[in-house]
């Protein structure tokens, strides 16, 4: 069964299909969310919220595009919701290890973009990640990173400028 077929089965109220989808996607979604928030409890809650949301509205995925990308767009927003609700959001960055494996990067196909991103400071990188790679709005990115929306905008502008210079 493809992911899209699972979604069709979920729309018919089949919980076993939801379970299969959860088994396929919850691990990587959790891993990716853990790179956005260090609070495991909040990540776990966001994962559960995500699949309950899928159960509620499986038809929201209209058959276009990767189910994985669609699930991520739900999961990252559920994480932001949970972070907002928790009284003291503890936003920690995932640990950064110095060695950059350029060969891996090139193999993975990010190519120029990967190289360009290397030139960014961790702060600018975080904004690029939230706004460009995670596809969040300025407000959502501000909530996720715990910084004002104005800061998100200026950092994104600076990041774009640096990336343009590196590409030139």
């Amino acid at each position: 069964m493809t992911d899209a077929e699972l979604l069709a089965a979920i729309a018919e109220g089949r919980a076993d299909a939801l379970r299969e989808l959860h088994e396929r996607h919850a691990p990587w979604l959790a891993a990716r969310l853990s790179h956005r928030s260090a609070d495991r409890g909040i990540v776990d809650e966001a994962i559960q919220d995500t699949f309950v949301a899928v159960w509620k509205k499986p038809q929201a995925h209209r058959g276009e595009g990767e189910v994985g990308a669609w699930l991520w767009s739900i999961a990252i927003r559920k994480l932001i919701d949970r972070l907002r609700r928790s009284r003291a959001p503890r936003l920690e960055r995932a640990p950064v290890v110095e060695s950059v494996e350029e060969s891996v990067l090139a193999g993975i196909g990010y190519g120029d973009l990967g190289k360009v991103m290397e030139g960014l400071s961790p702060e600018l990188m975080a904004v690029v990640q939230a706004r460009i790679l995670d596809g969040l709005s300025t407000r959502e990115a501000a909530r996720l990173l715990g910084i004002p929306t104005g800061t998100v905008k200026t950092r994104l502008m600076r990041a774009k400028q640096i990336m343009r210079e590196q590409l030139a």
């Binding site: 729309a11 018919e12 109220g13 089949r14 919980a15 939801l18 379970r19 959860h22 088994e23 396929r24 996607h25 919850a26 691990p27 990587w28 959790a30 891993a31 990716r32 853990s34 790179h35 776990d44 994962i47 559960q48 699949f51 309950v52 159960w55 509620k56 509205k57 499986p58 038809q59 990767e66 994985g68 990308a69 991520w72 995932a94 640990p95 950064v96 290890v97 110095e98 060695s99 950059v100 494996e101 891996v104 990067l105 193999g107 993975i108 196909g109 990010y110 990967g114 991103m117 290397e118 961790p122 990188m125 975080a126 990640q129 790679l133």
Partner: protein, 270 residues
């Protein structure tokens, strides 16, 4: 896909010990590559715990008799579940209806002044209102999470439940009716018309307030009207009053239809 993420990189990504740029590449790839998703280290215990939390919120336990019955006659599985979870089929609700009807049957024979009948006429139309009011909101609805997570919008859910509540209470009422010693001028519509009017008014108010508040308001209004009516005779239920109920029902029905989009707001209409 022609290339895949190196296992070691994947696992370092999972433990968080990886550079941000590499992490971004891994993420972009894994989002679209089922094969690499399968290569992630799987924590079975975590997966089962995560699923258990979701199952609690989407599965209301074993399917009920009514659900299976509905499915067997061709009703869509999910719709059947939602209907089966309607308060109309809760033991407490059915018992309450039977109690009120039983009271009317037993008391009416030995009550020449018609007071038992008045109490019946007061209580019977409130039964469906109570059924609707007590069924929504997190305070009272054990299946609240399911209600929230069902793929049916709040408005259709509310109407669906109102209909099942009406069918069950009116059904039991009609069975009991021939055994109730009524003044000759009264037919079953004596309580059917106010029951419909009060139910529709509850639905209309539920577009603005929480269902149980809407129910309490209707019950309060009905009690006031009854208190005034009881000072006189049973005029409240004669033909003249009947047309008032029908009119009120139509107005409330129109309000429900016009405000149908207001039921989707959080905490309203549930």
């Amino acid at each position: 896909m022609s290339w895949h993420v190196d296992q070691d990189v994947l696992h370092r990504y999972q433990t968080g010990a990886i550079d941000r740029v590499v992490a971004a590449s891994v993420e972009a790839h894994v989002t679209e590559c089922a094969e690499c998703r399968g290569d992630l280290i799987l924590d079975e215990i975590w997966l089962n715990q995560s699923w258990a939390g979701i199952a609690d919120r989407v599965e209301p336990g074993r399917p009920r008799v009514i659900e299976r019955l509905l499915v067997s006659v061709g009703v869509n599985q999910h719709l059947a579940r939602v209907i089966a979870l309607s308060p109309a089929f809760r033991v407490s609700f059915v018992l309450a209806v039977i109690l009120v009807m039983g009271f009317a049957v037993s008391a009416s024979a030995s009550d020449p002044n018609g007071w038992a009948f008045r109490v019946f006429l007061f209580l019977a139309p409130l039964l469906p209102v109570a059924g609707i009011a007590l069924a929504y909101g997190s305070l009272v609805d054990a299946a609240h999470e399911l209600t929230l997570s069902s793929p049916i919008d709040s408005f259709r859910l509310l109407v669906l439940r109102a209909i099942t509540v009406l069918i069950v209470s009116v059904g039991i009422g009609l069975v009991a009716w021939p055994f109730i010693d009524t003044p000759s001028a009264f037919g079953p519509s004596a309580w059917l018309a106010p029951a419909l009017a009060l139910t529709l008014t509850t639905l209309a108010l539920a577009s603005r307030f929480e269902a149980w508040i809407a129910g309490a308001m209707v019950a309060g209004g009905w009690a006031t009207a009854m208190a005034l009516a009881l000072a006189g005779d049973l005029e409240t239920f004669n033909a003249g009053a009947q047309s008032v109920y029908v009119l009120a029902g139509i107005v409330a029905g129109l309000v429900v239809a016009v405000r149908r989009n207001s039921y989707d707001r959080e905490g309203v209409g549930r």
